[in-house]
Protein backbone atom coordinates (compact mmCIF):
# COMPACT_ATOMS: atom_id res chain seq x y z
CA UNK A 1 0.00 0.00 0.00
CA UNK A 2 2.65 2.50 1.04
CA UNK A 3 4.84 1.35 -1.82
CA UNK A 4 2.31 2.55 -4.35
CA UNK A 5 3.47 6.06 -5.27
CA UNK A 6 -0.04 7.04 -6.30
CA UNK A 7 -1.65 6.62 -2.90
CA UNK A 8 -0.44 10.12 -1.92
CA UNK A 9 -2.90 11.54 -4.42
CA UNK A 10 -5.91 9.80 -2.93
CA UNK A 11 -8.69 12.00 -1.74
CA UNK A 12 -10.54 10.91 1.36
CA UNK A 13 -13.34 12.32 3.38
CA UNK A 14 -12.58 14.20 6.60
CA UNK A 15 -15.57 14.29 8.88
CA UNK A 16 -19.12 13.51 7.88
CA UNK A 17 -20.53 13.17 4.41
CA UNK A 18 -22.12 16.42 3.26
CA UNK A 19 -24.59 16.27 0.42
CA UNK A 20 -26.54 18.89 -1.45
CA UNK A 21 -29.14 17.01 -3.38
CA UNK A 22 -27.27 14.34 -5.23
CA UNK A 23 -23.98 16.20 -5.07
CA UNK A 24 -21.33 15.08 -2.59
CA UNK A 25 -19.51 18.12 -1.26
CA UNK A 26 -17.89 16.46 1.74
CA UNK A 27 -14.89 18.09 3.34
CA UNK A 28 -11.84 16.14 2.18
CA UNK A 29 -8.09 16.33 2.60
CA UNK A 30 -8.02 18.30 -0.66
CA UNK A 31 -10.49 20.79 0.78
CA UNK A 32 -8.37 20.97 3.94
CA UNK A 33 -5.29 22.04 2.02
CA UNK A 34 -7.26 24.50 -0.08
CA UNK A 35 -8.46 26.08 3.15
CA UNK A 36 -4.98 25.94 4.70
CA UNK A 37 -3.36 27.55 1.65
CA UNK A 38 -5.96 30.29 1.44
CA UNK A 39 -5.72 30.99 5.14
CA UNK A 40 -1.93 31.09 5.00
CA UNK A 41 -2.07 33.59 2.13
CA UNK A 42 -4.62 35.73 3.94
CA UNK A 43 -2.70 35.67 7.23
CA UNK A 44 0.65 36.49 5.63
CA UNK A 45 -0.66 39.28 3.46
CA UNK A 46 -2.83 40.66 6.21
CA UNK A 47 0.20 40.88 8.49
CA UNK A 48 2.18 42.33 5.62
CA UNK A 49 -0.29 45.12 5.02
CA UNK A 50 -1.31 45.90 8.58
CA UNK A 51 0.95 48.80 9.36
CA UNK A 52 2.94 50.89 6.98
CA UNK A 53 6.39 51.82 8.15
CA UNK A 54 8.81 53.68 5.95
CA UNK A 55 11.28 50.88 6.58
CA UNK A 56 9.22 47.70 6.10
CA UNK A 57 9.74 44.68 8.32
CA UNK A 58 10.30 41.25 6.84
CA UNK A 59 6.70 40.18 6.39
CA UNK A 60 5.72 43.57 4.99
CA UNK A 61 8.63 43.36 2.61
CA UNK A 62 7.50 39.90 1.54
CA UNK A 63 3.98 41.13 0.85
CA UNK A 64 5.16 44.21 -1.00
CA UNK A 65 7.73 42.33 -3.05
CA UNK A 66 5.07 39.80 -4.09
CA UNK A 67 2.77 42.66 -4.98
CA UNK A 68 5.33 44.41 -7.15
CA UNK A 69 6.46 41.09 -8.64
CA UNK A 70 2.96 40.19 -9.82
CA UNK A 71 2.11 43.72 -10.88
CA UNK A 72 5.31 43.91 -12.94
CA UNK A 73 4.57 40.52 -14.49
CA UNK A 74 1.11 41.69 -15.53
CA UNK A 75 2.19 45.05 -16.87
CA UNK A 76 5.04 43.41 -18.81
CA UNK A 77 2.89 40.79 -20.50
CA UNK A 78 -0.58 42.30 -20.72
CA UNK A 79 0.03 46.03 -20.49
CA UNK A 80 -1.76 48.65 -18.46
CA UNK A 81 -5.21 47.56 -19.62
CA UNK A 82 -4.92 44.42 -17.48
CA UNK A 83 -4.88 46.43 -14.26
CA UNK A 84 -8.48 45.60 -13.27
CA UNK A 85 -7.58 41.89 -13.35
CA UNK A 86 -4.59 42.33 -11.07
CA UNK A 87 -6.41 41.03 -7.99
CA UNK A 88 -7.52 37.90 -9.78
CA UNK A 89 -4.11 37.07 -11.18
CA UNK A 90 -2.48 37.84 -7.86
CA UNK A 91 -4.91 35.53 -6.05
CA UNK A 92 -4.45 32.87 -8.70
CA UNK A 93 -0.66 33.02 -8.54
CA UNK A 94 -0.62 32.97 -4.76
CA UNK A 95 -3.19 30.19 -4.53
CA UNK A 96 -1.33 27.94 -6.95
CA UNK A 97 2.02 28.79 -5.39
CA UNK A 98 0.86 28.09 -1.85
CA UNK A 99 -0.91 24.85 -2.85
CA UNK A 100 2.26 23.72 -4.61
CA UNK A 101 4.46 24.71 -1.70
CA UNK A 102 2.24 23.11 0.94
CA UNK A 103 2.44 19.98 -1.14
CA UNK A 104 6.18 19.94 -0.62
CA UNK A 105 5.78 19.34 3.12
CA UNK A 106 5.88 15.59 3.83
CA UNK A 107 2.54 13.90 4.56
CA UNK A 108 0.57 16.78 3.06
CA UNK A 109 -1.69 16.73 0.07
CA UNK A 110 -0.98 18.62 -3.13
CA UNK A 111 -4.19 20.24 -4.27
CA UNK A 112 -2.79 21.18 -7.67
CA UNK A 113 -1.83 17.59 -8.47
CA UNK A 114 -5.47 16.94 -9.30
CA UNK A 115 -6.56 17.51 -12.86
CA UNK A 116 -10.03 18.53 -11.82
CA UNK A 117 -8.71 21.42 -9.70
CA UNK A 118 -6.35 22.75 -12.34
CA UNK A 119 -8.93 22.17 -15.03
CA UNK A 120 -11.57 24.17 -13.20
CA UNK A 121 -9.11 27.04 -12.77
CA UNK A 122 -8.02 26.84 -16.40
CA UNK A 123 -11.57 26.56 -17.69
CA UNK A 124 -12.61 29.54 -15.63
CA UNK A 125 -9.71 31.54 -17.05
CA UNK A 126 -10.51 30.36 -20.58
CA UNK A 127 -14.17 31.26 -20.35
CA UNK A 128 -13.44 34.54 -18.61
CA UNK A 129 -10.82 35.58 -21.15
CA UNK A 130 -13.12 34.67 -24.03
CA UNK A 131 -15.97 36.70 -22.54
CA UNK A 132 -13.63 39.66 -21.96
CA UNK A 133 -12.44 39.39 -25.55
CA UNK A 134 -15.93 39.44 -26.97
CA UNK A 135 -16.98 42.30 -24.70
CA UNK A 136 -13.98 44.41 -25.66
CA UNK A 137 -13.90 43.70 -29.38
CA UNK A 138 -17.33 42.25 -30.21
CA UNK A 139 -17.19 39.90 -33.15
CA UNK A 140 -13.84 41.48 -34.02
CA UNK A 141 -12.37 39.18 -31.45
CA UNK A 142 -12.68 36.42 -34.03
CA UNK A 143 -9.84 38.15 -35.90
CA UNK A 144 -7.65 36.44 -33.35
CA UNK A 145 -8.00 33.32 -35.50
CA UNK A 146 -6.95 35.12 -38.69
CA UNK A 147 -3.32 36.17 -38.47
CA UNK A 148 -2.33 39.02 -40.74
CA UNK A 149 0.12 38.51 -43.58
CA UNK A 150 -0.85 34.91 -44.29
CA UNK A 151 -1.35 33.82 -47.94
CA UNK A 152 -4.99 33.27 -48.86
CA UNK A 153 -4.32 29.68 -49.83
CA UNK A 154 -3.06 28.81 -46.37
CA UNK A 155 -5.74 30.75 -44.58
CA UNK A 156 -8.30 27.94 -44.06
CA UNK A 157 -5.64 25.69 -42.59
CA UNK A 158 -4.20 28.43 -40.40
CA UNK A 159 -7.62 29.39 -39.08
CA UNK A 160 -8.37 25.79 -38.15
CA UNK A 161 -5.01 25.47 -36.39
CA UNK A 162 -5.56 28.73 -34.56
CA UNK A 163 -9.00 27.65 -33.39
CA UNK A 164 -7.66 24.31 -32.20
CA UNK A 165 -4.81 25.97 -30.37
CA UNK A 166 -7.22 28.43 -28.79
CA UNK A 167 -9.59 25.69 -27.67
CA UNK A 168 -6.76 23.58 -26.32
CA UNK A 169 -5.59 26.39 -24.07
CA UNK A 170 -7.50 25.27 -20.97
CA UNK A 171 -6.34 21.71 -21.47
CA UNK A 172 -2.69 22.62 -21.92
CA UNK A 173 -2.84 25.06 -19.05
CA UNK A 174 -4.42 22.58 -16.65
CA UNK A 175 -2.49 19.50 -17.75
CA UNK A 176 0.84 21.36 -17.52
CA UNK A 177 0.36 22.18 -13.87
CA UNK A 178 -1.29 18.92 -12.91
CA UNK A 179 1.24 16.73 -14.73
CA UNK A 180 4.22 18.61 -13.35
CA UNK A 181 3.00 18.32 -9.80
CA UNK A 182 1.93 14.72 -10.13
CA UNK A 183 5.13 13.61 -11.86
CA UNK A 184 7.36 15.38 -9.37
CA UNK A 185 5.60 14.00 -6.34
CA UNK A 186 5.43 10.51 -7.81
CA UNK A 187 9.13 10.58 -8.53
CA UNK A 188 9.92 11.72 -5.01
CA UNK A 189 7.76 8.96 -3.65
CA UNK A 190 9.45 6.38 -5.86
CA UNK A 191 12.91 7.45 -4.75
CA UNK A 192 11.73 7.56 -1.16
CA UNK A 193 10.54 3.98 -1.60
CA UNK A 194 13.98 3.02 -2.96
CA UNK A 195 15.60 4.43 0.16
CA UNK A 196 13.44 2.17 2.32
CA UNK A 197 13.82 -0.95 0.18
CA UNK A 198 17.60 -0.61 -0.27
CA UNK A 199 18.09 0.11 3.42
CA UNK A 200 21.18 1.46 5.19
CA UNK A 201 23.60 -0.10 2.74
CA UNK A 202 22.30 0.99 -0.65
CA UNK A 203 19.82 3.67 0.29
CA UNK A 204 22.21 6.58 0.27
CA UNK A 205 22.22 7.08 -3.47
CA UNK A 206 18.42 7.36 -3.80
CA UNK A 207 18.41 9.43 -0.63
CA UNK A 208 20.79 11.99 -2.10
CA UNK A 209 18.76 11.89 -5.27
CA UNK A 210 15.64 12.47 -3.23
CA UNK A 211 17.22 15.49 -1.56
CA UNK A 212 18.17 16.93 -4.94
CA UNK A 213 14.68 16.20 -6.23
CA UNK A 214 13.17 18.04 -3.29
CA UNK A 215 15.12 21.14 -4.28
CA UNK A 216 14.07 20.72 -7.88
CA UNK A 217 10.46 20.22 -6.89
CA UNK A 218 10.45 23.42 -4.85
CA UNK A 219 11.75 25.19 -7.94
CA UNK A 220 9.10 23.49 -10.06
CA UNK A 221 6.41 24.44 -7.55
CA UNK A 222 7.34 28.10 -7.92
CA UNK A 223 7.93 27.88 -11.63
CA UNK A 224 4.62 26.21 -12.41
CA UNK A 225 2.71 28.77 -10.39
CA UNK A 226 4.58 31.48 -12.28
CA UNK A 227 3.92 29.80 -15.63
CA UNK A 228 0.26 29.39 -14.79
CA UNK A 229 -0.05 33.06 -13.90
CA UNK A 230 1.98 34.33 -16.83
CA UNK A 231 0.02 32.23 -19.33
CA UNK A 232 -3.14 33.68 -17.86
CA UNK A 233 -1.63 37.11 -18.46
CA UNK A 234 -0.78 36.20 -22.05
CA UNK A 235 -4.30 34.96 -22.73
CA UNK A 236 -5.64 38.12 -21.14
CA UNK A 237 -3.30 40.14 -23.32
CA UNK A 238 -4.77 38.47 -26.42
CA UNK A 239 -8.24 39.40 -25.25
CA UNK A 240 -7.39 42.98 -24.28
CA UNK A 241 -5.00 44.00 -27.03
CA UNK A 242 -5.96 42.25 -30.24
CA UNK A 243 -2.69 42.09 -32.15
CA UNK A 244 -3.65 40.15 -35.25
Amino acid sequence: MAANPMTQFEVYRIGPEIKIGALDISFTNASLFMVVSSLAILVIFNLGSKKNSLLPNKIQLLAELSYTFVSKMISDTAGSKAKPYFSFIFSLFMFVLFCNMFGMIPYTFTVTSHIIVTFVLAAFIFIGVTIIGFIKHGLGYLKLFVPSGVPIVLLPLIVVIEIISYLSRPISLSVRLFANMMAGHTMMKVFGGFVISLGVVGGWLPLSFSVALTGLEILVAFLQAYVFAILTCIYLNDALNLHH
Binding site: N4, M6, T7, F9, E10, V11, R13, L23, D24, I25, S26, F27, T28, A30, S31, M34, V35, S37, S38, I41, L42, F45, N46, G48, S49, K50, N52, L54, P56, Q60, A63, E64, Y67, T68, F86, S87, F88, F90, S91, L92, M94, F95, V111, S113, H114, I115, I116, V117, F119, V120, L121, V160, I163, I164, L167, S168, I171, F178, M182
Partner: protein
Protein backbone atom coordinates in the same frame (compact mmCIF):
# COMPACT_ATOMS: atom_id res chain seq x y z
CA UNK B 1 -8.94 18.54 -37.43
CA UNK B 2 -7.65 15.22 -36.19
CA UNK B 3 -5.79 17.01 -33.42
CA UNK B 4 -8.96 18.82 -32.46
CA UNK B 5 -10.99 15.66 -32.37
CA UNK B 6 -8.32 13.96 -30.36
CA UNK B 7 -8.29 16.75 -27.79
CA UNK B 8 -12.05 16.85 -27.66
CA UNK B 9 -12.15 13.15 -27.10
CA UNK B 10 -9.63 13.41 -24.29
CA UNK B 11 -11.43 16.39 -22.88
CA UNK B 12 -14.92 14.91 -22.90
CA UNK B 13 -13.80 11.48 -21.91
CA UNK B 14 -12.57 12.91 -18.63
CA UNK B 15 -16.18 13.44 -17.65
CA UNK B 16 -17.24 9.91 -18.45
CA UNK B 17 -14.38 8.06 -16.94
CA UNK B 18 -16.19 7.16 -13.77
CA UNK B 19 -17.15 3.73 -14.97
CA UNK B 20 -13.77 3.14 -16.54
CA UNK B 21 -11.68 3.89 -13.50
CA UNK B 22 -14.03 3.01 -10.71
CA UNK B 23 -13.29 -0.61 -11.26
CA UNK B 24 -9.57 -0.09 -11.62
CA UNK B 25 -8.02 0.28 -8.18
CA UNK B 26 -4.46 1.50 -7.99
CA UNK B 27 -4.79 3.70 -11.07
CA UNK B 28 -4.52 7.45 -10.95
CA UNK B 29 -6.65 8.71 -8.06
CA UNK B 30 -6.93 11.98 -9.98
CA UNK B 31 -9.18 10.30 -12.50
CA UNK B 32 -11.52 8.94 -9.86
CA UNK B 33 -14.51 11.24 -10.08
CA UNK B 34 -15.83 10.36 -6.64
CA UNK B 35 -14.72 13.66 -5.08
CA UNK B 36 -14.67 15.85 -8.17
CA UNK B 37 -17.77 17.72 -7.23
CA UNK B 38 -16.45 18.20 -3.69
CA UNK B 39 -13.13 19.51 -5.02
CA UNK B 40 -14.86 21.88 -7.44
CA UNK B 41 -17.09 23.12 -4.65
CA UNK B 42 -14.30 23.68 -2.16
CA UNK B 43 -12.01 25.20 -4.78
CA UNK B 44 -14.71 27.67 -5.76
CA UNK B 45 -15.43 28.46 -2.14
CA UNK B 46 -11.85 28.91 -0.92
CA UNK B 47 -10.58 30.63 -4.04
CA UNK B 48 -13.64 32.84 -4.11
CA UNK B 49 -13.16 33.92 -0.51
CA UNK B 50 -9.44 34.36 -1.09
CA UNK B 51 -10.09 36.51 -4.14
CA UNK B 52 -12.73 38.65 -2.45
CA UNK B 53 -10.70 39.26 0.71
CA UNK B 54 -7.48 39.93 -1.20
CA UNK B 55 -9.05 42.26 -3.74
CA UNK B 56 -11.32 44.14 -1.34
CA UNK B 57 -9.25 44.35 1.82
CA UNK B 58 -5.62 43.43 1.52
CA UNK B 59 -4.36 44.41 -1.92
CA UNK B 60 -5.71 47.97 -1.78
CA UNK B 61 -3.90 48.38 1.54
CA UNK B 62 -0.62 47.13 0.15
CA UNK B 63 -1.04 49.33 -2.88
CA UNK B 64 -1.80 52.32 -0.67
CA UNK B 65 1.22 51.52 1.50
CA UNK B 66 3.46 51.37 -1.54
CA UNK B 67 2.05 54.61 -2.91
CA UNK B 68 2.41 56.30 0.44
CA UNK B 69 6.00 55.19 0.77
CA UNK B 70 6.76 56.33 -2.76
CA UNK B 71 5.23 59.73 -2.16
CA UNK B 72 6.91 60.01 1.22
CA UNK B 73 10.30 59.27 -0.27
CA UNK B 74 9.58 61.68 -3.09
CA UNK B 75 8.56 64.32 -0.59
CA UNK B 76 11.68 63.77 1.45
CA UNK B 77 13.84 64.06 -1.63
CA UNK B 78 12.05 67.24 -2.60
CA UNK B 79 12.39 68.67 0.89
CA UNK B 80 16.09 67.83 0.91
CA UNK B 81 16.47 69.47 -2.48
CA UNK B 82 14.66 72.56 -1.25
CA UNK B 83 16.78 72.77 1.87
CA UNK B 84 19.91 72.39 -0.18
CA UNK B 85 18.80 75.18 -2.47
CA UNK B 86 17.93 77.44 0.41
CA UNK B 87 21.22 76.74 2.11
CA UNK B 88 23.04 77.55 -1.10
CA UNK B 89 21.10 80.79 -1.36
CA UNK B 90 21.98 81.58 2.25
CA UNK B 91 25.61 80.85 1.54
CA UNK B 92 25.52 83.18 -1.44
CA UNK B 93 23.88 85.85 0.66
CA UNK B 94 26.52 85.41 3.30
CA UNK B 95 29.28 85.67 0.71
CA UNK B 96 27.65 88.79 -0.72
CA UNK B 97 27.43 90.36 2.71
CA UNK B 98 31.04 89.52 3.45
CA UNK B 99 32.33 90.94 0.17
CA UNK B 100 30.12 93.98 0.52
CA UNK B 101 31.28 94.65 4.03
CA UNK B 102 34.87 94.18 2.95
CA UNK B 103 34.34 96.78 0.25
CA UNK B 104 32.69 99.09 2.72
CA UNK B 105 35.48 98.66 5.22
CA UNK B 106 37.99 99.45 2.50
CA UNK B 107 36.04 102.55 1.55
CA UNK B 108 35.76 103.66 5.14
CA UNK B 109 39.45 103.13 5.63
CA UNK B 110 40.28 105.08 2.48
CA UNK B 111 37.96 107.90 3.43
CA UNK B 112 39.34 108.09 6.91
CA UNK B 113 42.85 108.10 5.52
CA UNK B 114 42.00 110.87 3.11
CA UNK B 115 40.30 112.87 5.82
CA UNK B 116 43.24 112.51 8.11
CA UNK B 117 45.62 113.43 5.33
CA UNK B 118 43.55 116.48 4.49
CA UNK B 119 43.42 117.53 8.09
CA UNK B 120 47.11 117.05 8.41
CA UNK B 121 47.69 119.12 5.27
CA UNK B 122 45.42 121.87 6.49
CA UNK B 123 47.09 121.94 9.87
CA UNK B 124 50.46 121.87 8.23
CA UNK B 125 49.56 124.79 6.04
CA UNK B 126 48.21 126.85 8.90
CA UNK B 127 51.21 125.96 10.96
CA UNK B 128 53.47 126.91 8.08
CA UNK B 129 51.67 130.21 7.76
CA UNK B 130 51.93 130.87 11.44
CA UNK B 131 55.57 129.98 11.40
CA UNK B 132 56.12 132.19 8.39
CA UNK B 133 54.33 135.05 10.06
CA UNK B 134 56.25 134.64 13.24
CA UNK B 135 59.49 134.37 11.36
CA UNK B 136 58.61 137.57 9.52
CA UNK B 137 57.71 139.30 12.75
CA UNK B 138 60.88 138.18 14.39
CA UNK B 139 62.84 139.24 11.32
CA UNK B 140 61.19 142.62 11.43
CA UNK B 141 61.98 142.90 15.12
CA UNK B 142 65.53 141.87 14.42
CA UNK B 143 65.71 144.38 11.60
CA UNK B 144 64.34 147.07 13.88
CA UNK B 145 66.75 146.08 16.56
CA UNK B 146 69.55 146.09 14.00
CA UNK B 147 68.66 149.54 12.88
CA UNK B 148 68.35 150.78 16.45
CA UNK B 149 71.54 149.01 17.43
CA UNK B 150 73.68 150.80 14.79
CA UNK B 151 72.35 154.15 15.90
CA UNK B 152 72.90 153.33 19.54
CA UNK B 153 76.40 152.03 18.78
CA UNK B 154 77.08 155.20 16.82
CA UNK B 155 75.84 157.24 19.77
CA UNK B 156 77.98 155.27 22.16
CA UNK B 157 80.88 155.55 19.80
CA UNK B 158 80.42 159.30 19.56
CA UNK B 159 80.16 159.67 23.33
CA UNK B 160 83.18 157.48 24.02
CA UNK B 161 85.10 159.21 21.26
CA UNK B 162 84.27 162.64 22.71
CA UNK B 163 85.22 161.56 26.17
CA UNK B 164 88.42 159.96 24.90
CA UNK B 165 89.19 163.11 23.01
CA UNK B 166 88.58 165.12 26.12
CA UNK B 167 90.96 162.96 28.09
CA UNK B 168 93.52 162.87 25.33
CA UNK B 169 93.47 166.40 24.13
CA UNK B 170 91.78 168.03 27.03
CA UNK B 171 89.43 170.06 24.97
CA UNK B 172 85.97 169.45 23.91
CA UNK B 173 85.35 168.64 20.30
CA UNK B 174 82.11 169.35 18.64
CA UNK B 175 79.92 166.39 18.79
CA UNK B 176 78.60 166.90 15.31
CA UNK B 177 82.01 166.56 13.71
CA UNK B 178 82.65 163.32 15.61
CA UNK B 179 79.26 161.95 14.63
CA UNK B 180 79.99 162.74 11.01
CA UNK B 181 83.20 160.72 11.17
CA UNK B 182 81.45 157.84 12.99
CA UNK B 183 78.60 157.81 10.54
CA UNK B 184 81.04 157.80 7.72
CA UNK B 185 82.94 154.87 9.25
CA UNK B 186 79.87 152.90 10.07
CA UNK B 187 78.54 153.37 6.60
CA UNK B 188 81.79 152.24 5.10
CA UNK B 189 82.40 149.32 7.41
CA UNK B 190 78.90 148.69 8.82
CA UNK B 191 78.83 145.14 7.74
CA UNK B 192 82.20 144.43 9.24
CA UNK B 193 81.42 145.70 12.71
CA UNK B 194 77.88 144.67 13.38
CA UNK B 195 77.67 141.36 11.61
CA UNK B 196 74.47 140.07 10.40
Amino acid sequence: MIKKIFFQLVFFNLFFLKEVFAAESGGMPQLNPEFWISQIFWLTLTFGILYVVLSKLILPKISANLELRKSQIQENIEAAEKQRESSEAKLKEYDDIISKSKLEANNIFKEARENVLKEINVKKETLDKQIDEEVKKVEQEINLLKKGASEKINKIAIETTSELLVKLIGTEVNNSSISAIVDDLSKRNGDKYYGN
